[in-house]
């Protein structure tokens, strides 16, 4: 048995991962590259994506970093155009950037709401929309994965607006799956639960003894997920191994949403 299983092989495919400067996105990008894809790593700040790209290239993969503010449609257009120019096509889009602040819902301001819905839902919509448009023009199908959250399904304290944005992502995935199935574009979500690597704006909420106790009590696996544990699910979802899966939300949460 070789370790090269063609079902999961992404050789010859070109991917973009947003929010790939660190954390889950960086590990997803590394996983896709290890499975053979050429990967554009994107994020607002250049430092993180340069490190992610360097790590992939040092490991023998192919990666290129493009700084992009995913909340600006013109910048996402540029990201996709540059990817296609450099690699020839866009086959895999992983929309992973996001914000995760938490606040008592009675104290959430319009600005808080606009920021989270704007980044987690609206800009995810635009990234998926533009990627889908490119894939439809290419005419050879594709795979889109949007990073959602277990908070799309179950309530977590302080996550009223974050949960709303991710609930929207789950439904967006179902909608796009339906609209783009005739173009052989599969659209799915992955829904991480508590992970080691918290996203922008969450560390003060998550690194407390109360949260550690909560995780011990409410997550069957009794621990947070590791960022690397997102790589396998993403590779699976975008590969031919998932050829009959679309419109699905894959929970990677140690059983959190099952209990």
């Amino acid at each position: 048995m070789s370790t090269n299983n063609p079902l999961f092989d992404l050789s010859g495919r070109n991917a973009i991962v947003t929010g790939a400067g660190r954390g889950l996105g960086a590990e997803m990008a590394k996983g896709l590259a290890a499975a053979g894809a050429d990967v554009v790593v994107a994020a607002r700040t250049p430092g993180g994506i340069a490190r992610t790209a360097a790590a992939i290239n040092a490991a023998g993969g192919t990666a290129h970093a493009i700084a992009c503010d995913a909340t600006e449609r013109s910048e996402v257009e540029h990201l996709i155009a540059e990817t296609v120019e450099r690699f020839g096509s866009l086959d895999i889009m992983v929309v992973n950037h996001g914000l995760g602040p938490a606040k008592d819902l009675l104290e959430v301001t319009d600005e808080d709401l606009d920021a989270v819905i704007g980044v987690n839902l609206n800009s995810a919509y635009v990234c998926a929309q533009l990627a889908g448009k490119q894939m439809i023009e290419q005419g050879k199908g594709g795979a889109i994965v949007i990073t959602s959250s277990s908070a799309s399904k179950i309530a977590c304290w302080g996550y009223s607006y974050y949960g709303a944005s991710k609930g929207g992502v789950d439904q967006l995935v179902r909608q796009l799956a339906q609209e783009w199935a005739p173009h052989s574009i599969r659209v799915n979500a992955i829904n991480p639960g508590y992970t080691d690597n918290e996203m922008a704006g969450t560390s003060d909420v998550h690194d407390t003894p109360e949260v550690a106790e909560f995780i011990d009590r409410f997550i069957p696996f009794g621990r947070r997920g590791r960022a690397e544990e997102m790589a396998g699910p993403v590779v699976f979802m975008v590969s031919d191994a998932a050829s009959y899966m679309t419109g699905q939300c894959l929970f990677i949460d140690g059983g959190y949403s099952a209990v």
């Binding site: 299983n5 339906q178 191994a241 679309t246």
Partner: protein, 257 residues
């Protein structure tokens, strides 16, 4: 390039209901990913064909006949697996029947048969596999084949849907109780597939059904048995190390719309 996250070399798997259809494809796929596979079911001649395919691929398989509704047979299957291959790492509990009848006409016997085969025997197989995995202390992965019929209603599938809804919830309970043993428990939920299970053929092989599937499934087609392979390998492998208690439809988008 490496897909080693999905490599099952050194693992031992049992697949029930693997004499034909989805189970046969799953068994062959797991063996292709490196696992030593026991193909298990009631009909020896079917199992032999499944085993022959795997061996022809250059991989390892063993056929064991068993009746999934007998706890003693489940135990014998699992013990013979461990005797032959040394341990038990992956149990794919895939056997089942499909029967369609208007809910108001279902008899006690029909209800009992459906629940016995599709729910109770899945529980027993899962439980006995879990006992052995827990004793080994090296973790494991249990995968139940459920159905989109666990999530949404289909005409005349009330007993089937009830059994499969039970399987989904059993999966969550197993996942919770077995997590301390590092045993992950998940479900694959096939939608309309090209291969039909025992008892479901005549209902599905009609032009009307093909048209219905085209209209109601975003991907506008049935799934192929081989399309269950990737999901099962994923859930059985280290690639899914933080995935447990998850219900994974493999349905061309059917339940999304």
């Amino acid at each position: 390039m490496s897909t080693e996250l999905f490599d099952l070399t050194g693992k031992v798997a049992v697949v029930t209901g693997s004499g034909r259809g989805l189970g046969r494809a799953m068994a062959r796929g797991l063996a292709g990913a490196g696992a030593k596979v026991v193909v298990a079911g009631r009909t020896a001649s079917d199992l032999d064909e499944s085993t022959a395919d795997i061996i022809a691929d250059g991989n390892q398989a063993l056929a064991i006949t068993f009746d999934a509704t007998s706890r003693a047979d489940c135990c014998r299957l699992l013990d013979e697996t461990i005797a032959a291959f040394g341990n038990l790492d992956i149990a794919v509990i895939n056997h089942g029947i499909g029967r369609a009848k208007a809910a108001v006409e279902v008899t006690d016997d029909e209800l009992a048969e459906m629940i016995d085969i599709n729910l109770k025997s899945a529980f027993v197989c899962g439980q006995e596999a879990a006992r052995r995995m827990a004793d080994q202390g090296t973790g494991g992965a249990i995968i139940f084949t459920s159905s989109t019929g666990s999530l949404v209603a289909f005409d005349k599938l009330s007993t089937y849907g009830a059994a499969k809804g039970g399987v989904d919830q059993m999966c969550r309970h197993f996942a919770q109780e077995l997590a301390p043993h590092n045993i992950r428990v998940n479900v694959v939920g096939p939608g309309y597939m090209e291969h039909h299970m025992r008892g479901a053929g005549e209902r599905h092989d009609t032009p009307e059904m093909t048209e219905h599937i085209r209209l109601t499934t975003p991907m506008e087609r049935r799934g192929r048995p081989e399309e269950m392979v990737g999901p099962v390998i994923f859930l059985a492998s280290d690639a899914a190390s933080f995935v447990t208690g998850h219900i994974m439809p493999v349905d061309g988008g059917y339940v999304a719309i």
